[in-house]
């Protein structure tokens, strides 16, 4: 998927903003320090992914899930992240649910039929899921 090495970089502007939020006002961050942190962040992603994947494999699952990532944090000795992560995951899930319902409402209006086959565990797959879901939605509308 990622063929060019720059695909593995994170956007500098965003990284810089995140660093600035963590430091007191007026601290100067050298350019070298920025790019070093950015590289470190990419490596962190890979490290976390590989740890999480080990947990998924242990559980004989093919898809990385939230629990795997949280276990990875613990294994990597970033326990301090776990509580804030759980918090934002909850907010995120609520947000996603809200979005989904908004979309469903739209579909209903188009179709005027009640089809509440709510897919609760649709967080189950990755990008393929999105496509699948789009198709399913269309099918439902067509019914």
């Amino acid at each position: 998927m990622a063929e060019r090495p720059e695909d593995l970089n994170l956007p500098n502007a965003v990284i810089t903003r995140i660093i600035k939020e963590a430091l007191p006002d007026g601290v100067n961050i050298s350019k070298e320090a920025r790019s070093a942190i950015s590289r470190a962040a990419s490596v962190f992603v890979l490290y976390a992914t590989s740890c999480a994947n080990n947990f998924a494999m242990k559980g004989k699952r093919k898809t990385l899930n939230a629990g795997d990532v949280l276990s990875a944090m613990e294994e990597m000795e970033f326990q301090r992240f776990i509580a804030p992560l759980k918090e934002s995951l909850e907010v995120y899930r609520r947000e996603q649910k809200g979005k989904k319902e908004a979309r469903k409402d739209k579909d209903k209006k188009a179709d005027s039929e009640e089809q509440d086959k709510s897919r609760e565990d649709d967080n189950d797959d990755d990008d393929e899921r999105m496509e699948e879901e789009e198709q399913n939605d269309e099918e439902e509308v067509d019914n």
Binding site: S30, K62, T63, D124
Partner: protein
């Protein structure tokens, strides 16, 4: 919203910022995080929650690495975060040890080339210059030991 700076930000700028994007939960782009995760060959698929969590964790990591390095680094006196603060962290703090390979103690290429040249020359002339270099490195090490 965390850490928005109370400094002399002009109202106009602030307003554009707020209207620009809704208060986002995560500022790193999920698509890019996914690409990085998928570049790992053994990973077959990632659910949306795991992707979100990894992105969020990366943000926390960036903040932690930056603030830790600043707090424990030498740049603090100069109100700056420098590369050597970061490589120092990677070397000294166990949690950040996995970064040691990508944040090596810095030596300038020019300096390294000079060292190589000197070594070549000194092969014939003796080794006093090389000793000079060693001393410089020792000094740095001492400074850092004091700094931490």
């Amino acid at each position: 919203m965390r850490g928005e700076r109370p400094g002399p930000l002009r109202g106009g700028k602030m307003a554009t910022r707020l209207s620009g994007g809704e208060n986002r939960l995560v500022s790193l782009p999920l698509s890019r995080i996914r690409v990085i995760m998928k570049s790992s060959p053994e990973v077959s698929s990632i659910n949306q929650d795991a992707l979100f969590l990894t992105a969020k964790a990366t943000e926390l990591f960036v903040q932690y690495l930056a603030s830790y390095s600043y707090k424990h680094g030498r740049g603090k006196e100069k109100n700056a975060l420098t590369y050597s603060d970061l490589s120092h962290t990677a070397e000294e703090c166990e949690t950040f040890q996995f970064l040691a390979d990508i944040l090596p103690k810095k030596i300038l290429a020019s300096k390294y080339l000079k060292m190589l040249e000197k070594e070549k020359r000194d092969g014939e002339l003796g080794k006093c210059d090389e000793e000079d270099d060693d001393e410089e490195e020792d000094d740095e090490a001492v400074d850092e030991a004091v700094g931490s």
